[in-house]
């Protein structure tokens, strides 16, 4: 291979499989020369994947679909050979809002008593966080387009905005919910696993052009990440992984809250990396995200969502790595679709 694989990540606990594969030498042991680039925003990840300045990245599934469908600019050609994590986000309220919700007997009652629409922050419009928050609000009788105002704030700025009273609440990934609670800026209302148990969170997105011209490297990349996911899921390795993610010349995450979010630890919401086939990029998952994007009017009625799901979510590309790692025979992949969990509420309009 002529040059190293460039993999983009953000400063989040969900980046653990890539960081572990890089720092523990799993990429190298597979014979893959890989470089990890820490990016400041999801937009950077999407732009660099679109224009080939990154080959692969930890990605939000709805953003992968939005980029592919040209909802944020030029249409990108991306494929998702594997999912990376399940769960891990929290809905957090500032102290005033938390008290208000408790004393008015629920979120809907509190919202109806507000003269100004309370502001809720998510990490990106096309994020799992936004879709889960909106789904949960709608299921509670709230119209997220009418009853609240939605802002986009970078994950690491959430806690400051909450503490300063700029937002009533947020939905963000680990470690920022626990950080907000620990510093007294707010209270955790729920983890997103309460909205959708075992919900898919981050995925691996790869430039389709890179995947087509480097099929062997793609197998090595996905093999190393499958190995890393298994390590990340072990409770006994969690302290080491938290330390690794806290390295100042790496992700520089707050170590205590990072450890809490890892499997087997004490956060109210934990990330799952490997168990329950967390690596499986299910068509049912893709269709749920796409269905929600259409529900909120972000996708036109003319878009062929099953076709988008089939084009982007490509479990077949993971087959060789699953077989090589002895996890599953590729013939077993279709059966996994039958085991996928979906949220229980109907997904029709509010």
């Amino acid at each position: 291979m002529s040059r190293p694989v460039r993999i983009g990540v953000l400063r989040l606990v969900d980046s653990a499989p890539v960081m572990v594969a890089a720092e523990r030498g799993l990429f190298a042991a597979c014979g893959l020369d890989a470089i990890v680039q820490v990016e400041p925003s999801w937009s950077n990840i999407a732009d660099k994947l679109t224009y080939g300045l990154l080959d692969a990245a930890v990605m939000l599934p709805p953003l992968a679909f939005a980029a592919t469908m040209g909802l944020r600019g030029p249409a990108a050609r991306l494929v998702v050979p594997m999912s990376l994590t399940q769960g891990g986000n929290m809905v957090v309220l500032n102290n005033d809002a938390a008290t208000g919700v408790a004393s008015s007997g629920g979120l809907l009652a509190w919202l109806s008593g507000q003269s100004d629409r309370p502001r809720f922050a998510v990490v990106h419009t096309f994020s799992t966080h936004n879709l889960l928050l909106r789904y949960w609000l709608a299921a509670s009788g709230v119209d997220p387009d009418r009853d609240i105002e939605t802002l986009v704030i970078p994950p690491e700025d959430m806690v400051k905005a909450l503490g300063a009273g700029q937002i009533a609440g947020f939905c963000a990934g680990a470690p920022w919910g626990d950080v907000a609670a620990a510093c007294g800026a707010g209270q955790v209302l729920l983890g997103t696993s309460a909205i959708w148990p075992h919900h898919p969170e981050k995925c691996l997105a790869v430039g389709a052009g890179w995947a087509e011209t480097n099929p062997d490297a793609l197998v090595l990349l996905t093999r190393a990440l499958l190995q890393a996911q298994i390590l990340c899921d072990r409770a006994d390795t969690a302290p080491e992984i938290a330390t690794l993610l806290a390295q100042p010349d790496g992700l520089d995450l707050p170590e205590v809250a990072t450890l809490a979010a890892l499997p087997g630890r004490n956060s109210a919401e934990q990330i799952c990396f490997h168990a329950r086939s967390a690596w499986f990029p299910a068509q049912a998952h893709a269709l749920w995200f796409l269905g929600q994007m259409r529900r909120w009017g972000w996708v036109g009625d003319d878009a062929d969502l099953p076709e988008v799901a089939r084009t982007v979510y490509r479990p077949d590309l993971l087959g060789p790595a699953l077989a090589a790692e002895g996890i599953l025979s590729p013939q077993g992949l279709p059966a996994l679709e039958e085991e996928v969990w979906l949220p229980s509420e109907p997904t029709s309009g509010p």
Binding site: P4, R6, E23, D33, I35, V36, Q37, P40, S41, W42, S43, N44, A46, D47, K48, Y51, G52, L53, L63, A66, L71, R72, G73, P74, V123, H124, T125, F126, T150, L151, V152, I153, P154, E156, D157, P248, D249, W296, G297, W298
Partner: protein
Amino acid sequence: MKVLLADDNAERASALARLLAADPRLVVLQLRAGEALADAVAAQAPDIVLADMARPDRDALDGIRQVATHAPRPIVLFADKDDPGFMEAAIGAGVSSYTVPGVPAPDVKPILQAAAALFRRHQQARDGQRLAENPLQEREVIGRAKARLIRKRKLTEPDACRWLRNQAMSRGRRIVDMVAELIRDSKGDAP
């Protein structure tokens, strides 16, 4: 045409503002310190936004609907479909451009081109200046970084060299500049 510059680097932003102001057809607006990008777009309704890609709040522009609920006009990432190499170069230089659908591409391209050239020059000047400040320390800085990698990450010396080279390559930087940055970013925790 209104151009909003979202760049926290004051020196670079003023240089770009002066450059663009030479075109009488352009009204150049700058983001105020601490002002949120989405708020500025809603308030100023620019036709073009030039954003420093190092900004973490650039994600606020990505939701077309989100911006559209505040401002009457949506903003999307500009793409020159005929010239993807040009877009790659702009992104590589660290600048991205958003436009209102309907703003003709021939008007946007020279503006983004000017911004990309300025960003690139700025990066090169900064690298050069850093080196000029430490003409004799280059080897020592790299040596210390290597020693730290060998100690902390249990790397062999060739692996440490390769790590530094890969990191520098991925950032498009010289090794010595990248190492200096790492040392500064680790809050004085020198190797």
